[in-house]
């Protein structure tokens, strides 16, 4: 069975979506001739031609606005923003234009655009090329935010994102690009808004997403040696997020830890913890514990970055806190 890497799964999803729908176009900085900074779009220009796959100037703000304009004029644009840190430059187009158009124009239009962007540290890329800013977008009514964790769900969620009539922020964790699996004969469909149980367990629920899944699995392995069975919920979709699946898991384990690579304060974890403290209060046998990055920029030096990233040990300690 052939291997499939995460970035190839993304390329495959783009390829299949473009083959299925002639209105899908793909643009961004170095996505065409170079095939993308992380190689996800290699070969697509050759296959679909320069009218549908093209490189752009370094003009993130105008490109995002153009994606909105194209989306309300009959196309389904997929825009790549090279690093999530650069999405600071596209905020007006996403927040004031894309997110609100359907609502503020009376429900009489749709904005079917996808913005793909990589987030995450671990590469020594420093403070402006490593951030996880997904909580910003999840805070904006009208946007959807997804963050796949492996090649299979990356494929399925990207297809779903392109088919979705709403603007979708598709976040790719950089540490996952090289991850691989055995290629399936057929990719299963994924629905935006649905989480999955990545590992069943009865003692504690760990909710996480994206690249942090691997940290969660390693922590679950470590906890298993102590006889603690952790259940891992892989959110996949952050806006909307799958409240029912998280609540069902909490109802089985009665303990909850929410973990992500993004800064802990005011993050996705805060939303989930607050919601579960409300609707899941009767199920809780311990405090809901959050684990994220400390409230500081991501440092460049390897030892500093390692200390910054939420680790397996941090997660094990967080689980022990709720079990205590």
């Amino acid at each position: 069975m052939a291997e499939l890497r995460y970035q190839k799964a993304i390329g495959r999803a783009l390829e299949d979506a473009m083959a299925a729908d002639p209105t899908v176009i793909l643009f961004g900085e170095d996505v065409a001739e170079a095939g993308g900074s992380f190689g996800a779009t290699k070969g697509l220009r050759e296959k679909f031609g320069p009218a549908r796959v093209f490189d752009t100037p370094i003009s993130e703000a105008a490109l995002a606005g153009a994606a909105v304009g194209a989306a309300v004029s009959g196309l389904k644009p997929v825009l790549e923003i090279m690093f999530m840190d650069f999405t600071t430059l596209v905020m007006d187009a996403l927040v004031n234009q894309a997110a609100k158009a359907r609502f503020m124009f009376g429900g009489r239009c749709a904005v079917p655009l996808v913005l793909r962007t990589p987030h995450g540290g671990g590469l020594g890329a420093g403070p402006q090329h490593s951030q996880c800013l997904e909580a910003w977008f999840a805070h904006v009514p009208g946007l959807k935010v997804v963050c796949p964790s492996d090649p299979i769900n990356a494929y399925g969620l990207l297809r779903a994102a392109i088919d979705d009539p709403n603007p979708v922020i598709f976040v790719e964790n950089k540490s996952l690009y090289a991850s691989k699996i055995d290629a399936p004969d057929e990719f299963p469909a994924f629905e935006i808004g649905k989480a999955r149980i990545a590992r069943p367990g009865r003692d504690v629920t760990i909710v996480t997403y994206g690249g942090a899944l691997r940290t969660a699995h390693a922590a679950a392995d470590a906890l298993a040696t102590e006889g603690v069975e952790a259940e891992i919920v892989d959110l996949l979709s952050l806006q909307p997020w799958d409240e029912a699946t998280v609540l069902a898991s909490l109802s089985r384990t009665h303990r909850l830890v929410v973990m992500h690579e993004a800064v802990e304060s005011f993050g996705v974890g805060a939303e989930i913890a607050a919601r579960m403290a409300d609707i899941g209060f009767d199920e809780l046998d311990g405090p809901i514990v959050r684990l994220g990055a400390p409230f500081m920029p991501i440092p460049f030096s390897k030892p500093l970055e390692r200390a910054y990233m939420p680790s397996v040990d941090n997660l094990v300690a967080a689980v022990r806190r709720t079990l205590a």
């Binding site: 703000a61 004029s73 009489r108 979705d164």
Partner: protein, 340 residues
Amino acid sequence: MTKPKPRSTGVRSGRNDPPEISRDELAELYRRLLTIRRAEERLQKLFADGEVPGFIHLSIGQEAVSVGVMDALRAQDTIASTHRGHGHAIAKGMALEGFFAELLARDEGVCRGRGGSMHVADMNIGMLGANGIVGAGLSIALGSALAHKTRGTKDVAVAFFGDGAQAEGLLHESLNIAALWKLPMLFVCENNGWGEFLPTTKHLAFQFGDLAAAYRIPHTKVDGNDVVAVQAAAHRIVEAMRDGAGPMALECMTTRVRGHFEGDAQKYRDPAEIAALAARDPVRGVADQLAALGLGVEAMEKIDGEVVAAIEAAVAHARTGTDPSFEAACADVYAEGGRA
């Protein structure tokens, strides 16, 4: 508002060479100018009476830009407008009923009372939206032009923007990309000399023509208060764009008669400057031309009466409209659909 009949006359180039235009054609332009003028005068009163919530920005004195440019457009051409967008919307074909109902925050409004003055839009007539963010329409029109080109149509996209928006980075990015990709995009600068409370001289270190030239985009400057001049330039430019000429720039020198927003006392303006604006009134200018061409007072009053009647009917319709439903609004944050 009815779209124009195909024009029968020929040469319309150059400001020194008065374009040929028949009295009937000019009367039709007059009707359209007057529709925007009377609609905004009505809004002025409705706003003062507290019937229009929020902020409104009137384009009184700038109507010839909307009417002249839109005369060159077809229904499927797209426009992206500004916070001062009433004229653009009406000239592009927005029905007065839906327009006034929106401004009065009714469910019958074009945006079901969710957008208001700064967000009037109707995708069915290619009106991609007024916009509360200065310069934002530029990149939306850019993307629409990209869609026209990608889909292989001969449609064009037009971005309206004020002189103040020239200080936004989006203009520079959009000019570059439009030129680089030879997109069918028309940049229409409505240069009214004011960016909010500051004169253009305190906003900008350059002229739009120089900026367009830097991006190798042909630039035409016209008297934006002369509807025939705007119309002639727009037809020439848009026809060239349909033939693949790439992006173009049209700068319309015009006049902002009212404040930045309604209620702005304009204490920062010299009263003499405001008083002098009457001499450049684009609506009165056409009325004078029509009189010179022999159109009688009665005929002119008939046009005015019809325009006012249509506006009053729209206002009455809006007043009897219903309040928008919160449940329906909540249901429209996201579009349904997509693949499960």
